[in-house]
Subunit: 559 residues, 2 copies
Amino acid sequence: MGKYAIGVDFGTLSGRTVLVDIANGAELATSILDYPHGVMSDALPGGRTLGVDWALQHPQDYLDVLESTVPEALRSSGVKPEEIVGVGIDFTACTPLPVTEDGTPLCFLEEFEDEPHAYVKLWKHHAAQPYANRLNEIAAARGEPWLARYGGKISSEWLIPKIWQIFAEAPEIYARMAHFVECADWVVWMLTGAPSRNACLAGYKAMWSKREGYPPSDFFEALDPGLRDVTRQKLSIPIRTQGECVGGICPEMARRTGLNAGTPVATGNVDAHVSVAGVGITGPGKMLAIMGTSTCHMLMSEREHDVPGICGCVEDGILPGFFGYEAGQPCVGDHFAWLAHNAVPERYFAEAAQAGLDIHAYLQRLAEKLEPGESGLLALDWWNGNRSVLVDADLTGMMLGMTLQTKAEEMYRALVEATAYGTRMIIENFETHGVPIEQFIAAGGIADKSPWAMQVYADVIRKPIRISGSAHGTALSAAVFGAVAAGARRGGFDSIAEAAAAMGKLRDVEYSPDPARAAVYDALYAEFKALHDYFGRGVNDVMKRLKQMRIHALSSRER
Amino acid sequence: MGKYAIGVDFGTLSGRTVLVDIANGAELATSILDYPHGVMSDALPGGRTLGVDWALQHPQDYLDVLESTVPEALRSSGVKPEEIVGVGIDFTACTPLPVTEDGTPLCFLEEFEDEPHAYVKLWKHHAAQPYANRLNEIAAARGEPWLARYGGKISSEWLIPKIWQIFAEAPEIYARMAHFVECADWVVWMLTGAPSRNACLAGYKAMWSKREGYPPSDFFEALDPGLRDVTRQKLSIPIRTQGECVGGICPEMARRTGLNAGTPVATGNVDAHVSVAGVGITGPGKMLAIMGTSTCHMLMSEREHDVPGICGCVEDGILPGFFGYEAGQPCVGDHFAWLAHNAVPERYFAEAAQAGLDIHAYLQRLAEKLEPGESGLLALDWWNGNRSVLVDADLTGMMLGMTLQTKAEEMYRALVEATAYGTRMIIENFETHGVPIEQFIAAGGIADKSPWAMQVYADVIRKPIRISGSAHGTALSAAVFGAVAAGARRGGFDSIAEAAAAMGKLRDVEYSPDPARAAVYDALYAEFKALHDYFGRGVNDVMKRLKQMRIHALSSRER
């Protein structure tokens, strides 16, 4: 009898299960389900339209992932349910959901099915920006000590701005919810029947810390008197640390997934943070970048540094014993998908089909023939705002250098380069503030599929790049925590370090900076930096004013 | 027997002939030929590749236009050759060509057919920018008095930078050419056998003036000792004024076009300047904008004002008795064509076909549903550089405000709006410097085909807009000059004013600014202006540096 763990990774557009041999990390089966409802940014399923910057999901999609991909992974691997020692899951974040006392999503109730605030607010729901702005003003004015841990700014993507938006805009939903839960925790709750909150998400997305807990109620009262007791009233589920076993699979979910009832399930985790274990990182000096629709950057240090513009610094937030730092770019692959969907002419698709390539591979084939600087283009990678180092969802995209000769593959390359400049900005910001980086490890879809993009990144950031050894590294990493939840007693591991050593892996390839191309990129990065600061640091707030005009025009239309 | 005139308009992509009743301007027939060689910006017909910013044409295409469209217009109208009182032609400018003593284009000689410099340099050939830059430096340093007439800067599109480029890069072509002629004059030469230079082009594009002639030879010597006698050696054909009769159709061209030999042919003219007569403008206060791939702005005043950043102020340059001012935007319809060709996805074309619309009409149908500000986008209309008021071909396009929701029709609208902001910049620049504008009259393809674009322009510029009464207004206007060349004695008119009164026409429609939309555009225009000055007036020369890097990358590739 073998010993296997299951990891389920809930991404932005789909969920995937991998079934992993815990002795060596070998992946025996993978199964993916695209979410039936996808990302809802225009309207609810019933037709109700959404405002600017909304991004919702339907929680039924997550249950569909479990009921479809777990049985499929078992079936296709031939592994028996009794050979599964544990299950780990990870999720996008902050992706929270209002639920009743027993965990029923409010959007499952007929009375709320046309109420946008009853649904999952996806991480990239940015309509809470006004609340984040107000929160940041108040926290700064009060000199809240915890603010420095989050780079001096709380993102509109995080939990408190999102629940404040519900409180202000849909008081009946606020009143009706018993808990506002991260979907990472909700899925674990549905699997086990046991409610839990995980320390990583509480720390990175809800301003909780191991030493101080949540911010005090007088801070929340300063936001709005009605929010005074928000943490006690809506965030009261006990917090559990990463790798703990929350419980066993409940009988109902055992029936639906084909797993044995009682199989250990680990505390929920965040897709980015969970992944560090899957590439074998066990300490400081190595940055892991999970590059997909967006990019998250994970880094550890023995000490706590105040680094401005990061997403958070949480003690034990990534691995026990270290301060875990997170930074991020909210739009990476999404840029390329936007371009392919909105700004690439038909002939490229025909030529791609003829070459037997998908559109991204075809655009890359054309783009990689160009030298740095040859397109004459420069972009700011802000199609979905800027998370680090500006922490401002109201920034928007920019491209310049277009001529009548500009072609789609040049714009494609410019967007890839822009995301690399954004990454260099984050790296330099960490290093300037005392957290050095020796190696850059990339995981996720882009790292996996695009050697060309990885070479561009190496040339831009001037650091060697290693790649995650798994095409499903996040799900693999979730499986690592599943094996830890089991513990040695039930066939797994007793520590994350042991599990990571056995199951984590890197590909046998390294991308090294090319000196000539890196020199050209130094010059282009200097131009990027100047425009980054001009548009992003308040010299010319044109992007914010245009966004306000857009919101005004759209709301005038609705009236 | 009726009395008719023929006008032939040579545009950027095609040539068209209209056959016009000189009693009332009624257009009896139109015939168009797309240039077989189009615009050559990548390679010569023989395969030799061209550099960055090159734009050439093949003079055979112009002869093809005459031999195809004139007979077709005669045929389809049923008008007899003896009923044609005169012929006028107009051309893009500055579009010059090196020829032998008898007018043979050097590119017709076998020895030069693979030599780029032997071909027509189309107006938008921008590869002479380094020569224009040097010329402007030298002229400014010497305090050349004529410089103020051209807004303080000579464009790389004009004749002297273009012939200097030939002198420097292809000395054998420079040595071999007997004349460097505007194609407007070359076509008249081919039609009549009589060489002539027209005063409008000599004035606007070759720094000639009625009172002072060309700049003195010591100025040209300062550019390069070898250019000292350039005007005497290469620009020596006598200058004739607008509306003069250069000669009659020669027997050979009578045979090829179906016109009678001896039919009077007017001095060559520029497409933009010729058109003033065709909309009935006879004096100051009315700006004519010819809106096609690019836009030219024509305006007259009784006095000479130094207006910075215009293309030229030429005495008698538009109509006798006035100082004629020209300004321009080198890329207007070309923006929309670029977008449609390079950045509109296939589904739009399918939907357009289903709606029975061409892609531009379909994008407009979507774009016109948006309110000002609703797209959240702002562009600088510099895909082909900026002519007025910055006179800088090294500037490039910019767009900002993009999000993951941005759609093609929003970018389309942003580009239309950007060209309108560029026009407002030009209008304000004239008014600030003493040349008032009461009415704006638009002609050309965009004015003719897009009521929506005209309303956007009216809202942006806050002035009423009238539209040329002819869909072929430029060719009609050329016909006006054909009728003037005939003179009353041969059945035409003795003055441009008389001919313009009889044949010129405006459509019975006026676009008035909408106060609410104009107010939003005021705010957007303020943002445009700030970025215009930031990128265009030297605060951040990133566009120029990127262009240099592009040129460097391309030339490294060739080596």
